[in-house]
């Protein structure tokens, strides 16, 4: 019998949950980031309505990421969260503001503008905090014994700011291409225009993060550039180039669906790149996935649930998206 490495399975499950979160909440936070660029109430109503039925499910993946991490890798959860204390709190508060705005802005005329600002500001803050947290993890975290041993400002470096800004650009691009897919007319034209600019900015951001990462740790350099690793890592940038070309073409041809899904492909590749850099660490350079893994019987107990429930969840989530498929029109908004 081939021994099954539960820690690796669980690393993939958590990575999957976080990626699904990025796929689903990315565009939805991106819409918030783009909100100030669409000052008309009519446009804002359409933008809100395009995600109102699904945003709650999207954010549930973030809860699964956090809860799953605590359950499957409790040591990593208990080291990372204090290390990322400020960005995490900022993210949570940002999510509070933007989450309530979905309902609140329809319950008031006088204060609607206030909740629109809350939606935009909360989305921006949450995204920036997620990007900063990612950078802070990549650059390494001080650990002593089973505890975080750094200060409460360690997360703040030029690199983490760079990853924060990069994620804002990335989510905004997802939001813009989502609007291309879900809207019509003048709103869609402006979304196209924004997609062009944001794509160029995103390519710049991917380039900057890719160049900066190997300088953080010699391990990252070796992982990407040493022989024979390069045989396995080289396809990633090649694929990024290929997807970029397809994305530019789909924008030039004004396709509806392709830009959004190709942007997701770009995210998937960047995410794979991150995985390549980090593996086998869950807290880079300090704690591996095996060291952080929960005892086997905890991981097995949850594996049954995941095997049955995740396909089910993906099924009914897909149904919910299907029910609200197609273009959102101002006169037939859900709200």
């Amino acid at each position: 019998m081939i021994p099954i490495d539960l820690a690796i399975i669980w690393a993939f499950i958590i990575a999957f949950a976080v990626f699904v979160y990025v796929v689903m909440d990315g565009f939805d936070l991106g819409l918030g980031i783009l909100f100030p660029l669409f000052p008309e109430k009519r446009d804002r109503d359409v933008i809100m309505n395009s995600v109102a039925p699904v945003w709650d499910g999207n954010e549930t993946w973030l809860v699964l990421g956090g809860g799953g991490l605590m359950a499957a890798f409790p040591l990593a959860y208990s080291v990372l969260m204090p290390a990322l204390y400020t960005p995490m709190i900022a993210m949570l508060l940002g999510l509070v503001f933007r989450g309530v705005a979905f309902e609140f802005r329809w319950r008031t005329t006088k204060e609607r503008n206030k909740w629109d600002i809350a939606f935009a500001g909360g989305s921006l803050l949450a995204t920036l905090a997620q990007g900063i947290a990612l950078g802070a993890i990549l650059q390494g975290i001080h650990v002593s014994g089973r505890h975080y041993a750094g200060g409460w400002w360690d997360w703040l470096t030029p690199f983490s700011i760079l990853t924060g800004v990069a994620l804002v650009i990335g989510y905004a691009l997802l939001g813009a291409t989502w609007l291309v897919m879900k809207t019509e007319g003048e709103l869609r034209d402006r979304a196209y225009h924004l997609s062009w600019m944001l794509l160029l900015a995103m390519l710049g951001a991917i380039g900057a993060v890719s160049i900066a990462t190997p300088f953080l740790h010699v391990q990252y350099t070796q992982r990407w550039f040493s022989w024979p690793n390069i045989l396995l890592t080289a396809p990633v940038p090649v694929a990024v180039a290929a997807v970029t070309v397809m994305l530019l073409r789909s924008l030039a041809n004004k396709y509806d669906y392709q830009p959004f899904f190709l942007t997701l492909a770009l995210f998937a590749l960047s995410y794979a790149g991150l995985g390549i850099s980090m593996y086998p660490y869950i807290v880079p350079q300090s704690i591996t996935i095996w060291q952080a893994a929960a005892p086997e019987n905890s991981q097995i107990f949850m594996l049954f649930g995941v095997a049955v429930l995740i396909p089910l969840i993906l099924g009914y989530t897909a149904w919910a998206y299907w029910v609200f498929r197609g273009k959102v029109r101002p006169e037939s908004g859900y709200h």
Binding site: V54, Y77, V79, T86, Y148
Partner: protein
């Protein structure tokens, strides 16, 4: 603000604050989701328009309350790590999976079907829409199951072992999940959620009856809510009594604090009705007590001996005054609910349910009683568990994150400011929705123009009701 507080006390204050805000919304939405499912089922079964009007009326309220529950809940799922990292490391292998199952079996179910429930009636038709409503209602109950299992394990840990890293691990998952206090806590909390919702629905119905006692929607919701109060309040008091006896068996020190029993009583303990617990002196000042009644209630015998806190080392005492008072507030609310239920039953029998202004005013005044009881009950059980996070096994001071006090203090201030700003607005919007009377042709959260009702009206009974008008 908060100078001189250490990081652990600040982290506790933060957890208590964010948790107290959070619990209000699920307590309401568990009950409301079930109520909505009942209303939609009645509409489908009878075709009476008043039920779909009420459904749409309460659906708008549900949407706002549920949204607030979601965002305050995401905070909770990360707070274990940010503020209680040592606790997370040690207990993660046991309660982590319970919470992961809550996400997988409950949160996704609620969130996945919520969109269809709120906005999808015209898109999917009544049958599938009812399925969505049912899934959301079931999701809220499953969520209560898992989170109360995790909480109960912290109160009455069972089925676990400890590994070489000092982590709790599960030796028997069934014993972990169905730990000794779990069934009692689950019943007590779900009934509390139902009562809380019933009192809000009843108060809103009564408010509108005070203005127009012939308003159909108000009459239906008021009558339904008063049935709940009449039937569930006595059951809840019995369930609470059983929960108390279970606590006496597994967490006797908590009962000592709830009862204010500093001294042991060899031949029958009194029931202290009121008094001022004095933790430093180890006695209850100005106590008003009924001799022997404490032993009668807890041991069912007037002369049964009962140990007091004098048998427990001081460092293991919970904060007695908070536990003592919050327990009394909860019981007081419960008795008021019982009174409302009985009063409404009396008037119902006399045929004056919709005519008694006194009853309606009583019901309006009872609107917050459920929330107060839920908060007081949680404060009783959580404070009574101190000084431990995992009762008897892991101390609160050993559970906190290695954070500097200023970090925790700043985040606490941020939470206080944001929560008051956001949730005050939310409560105002909720009250505004409730202040508008339910009317015929009530729309859900959808702002669509009222059209094509023919496509969504269930066949049975609709024609007759249409003809009657």
């Amino acid at each position: 603000m908060f100078e001189g507080w250490d990081a652990v006390v600040l982290a506790r204050a933060q957890f208590a604050f964010t948790m107290s805000f959070h619990i209000i919304f699920p307590a309401f939405s568990i009950g409301l989701a079930s109520y909505l499912a009942v209303l939609e089922a009645l509409w489908l079964a009878t075709g009476r328009e008043v039920y779909i009007n009420l459904f749409n009326y309460w659906l708008k309220i549900f949407a706002v309350a549920f949204g607030m529950g979601v965002v305050s809940g995401i905070v909770m799922s990360y707070q274990f790590g940010t503020n209680w990292s040592a606790f997370s490391d040690k207990t993660g292998p046991v309660i982590g999976p319970l919470m992961a199952y809550e996400v997988l079996t409950a949160f996704f179910l609620e969130a996945g079907f919520l969109g269809v429930m709120l906005f999808g009636l015209r898109r999917v038709g009544p049958g599938l829409h009812f399925l969505a409503t049912l899934m959301v209602a079931i999701g809220t109950l499953i969520s209560a199951f898992w989170i109360l299992s995790a909480n109960s394990w912290m109160q009455t840990p069972a089925g676990h072992a400890v590994n070489a890293d000092g982590q709790f691990i599960a030796a028997d998952w069934l014993k972990v999940i169905f730990n000794p206090s779990f069934p009692y806590r689950l019943v007590h909390m779900v009934l509390a959620a139902y009562l809380t919702t019933a009192l809000v629905v009843g108060a809103v119905g009564a408010w509108h009856l005070l203005r127009d006692r012939h308003l159909a929607g108000a009459r239906v919701m008021f009558s339904m809510a008063m049935w709940m109060a009449t039937l569930v309040a006595p059951i809840q008091i019995l369930a609470g009594d059983q929960h108390g006896l279970n606590t006496l068996e597994h967490q006797p020190v908590k009962i000592m604090a709830m009862e204010g029993h500093f001294q042991s009583h060899k031949d029958g303990a009194p029931l202290i009705l009121f008094g001022m617990p004095n933790q430093a002196a180890g006695r209850v000042d100005y106590a008003i007590e009924v001799p022997k009644l404490g032993s009668v209630i807890l041991k069912h015998s007037p002369d049964a001996p009962m140990a007091g806190l004098d048998t427990v080392p001081r460092e293991n005492w919970p904060p007695v005054a908070i536990t003592f008072w919050s327990f009394r507030i909860m019981v007081g609310m419960g008795l008021l609910m019982l009174a409302l239920g009985l009063f409404s039953l009396l008037l119902r029998v006399q045929g004056k349910l919709y005519d008694s202004r006194l009853l309606h005013m009583f019901a309006v005044a009872m609107a917050p009683a459920g929330f107060i009881a839920v908060l007081a009950g949680w404060i009783t059980t959580e404070t009574g568990r101190q000084p431990y996070t995992v009762y008897g096994l892991l101390r609160t001071v050993e559970s906190a994150s290695p954070l500097a006090a200023p970090a925790v203090a700043s985040s606490l201030i941020a939470f206080i400011i944001v929560y008051f700003a956001v949730f005050t607005a939310g409560v105002i919007y909720l009250l505004r929705l409730m202040a508008a009377p339910p009317h015929p042709g009530e729309q859900g959260p959808s702002h669509e123009v009222p059209i094509r009702t023919a496509g969504i009206t269930p066949a049975a009974g609709a024609a007759t009701e249409g003809a009657a008008r």
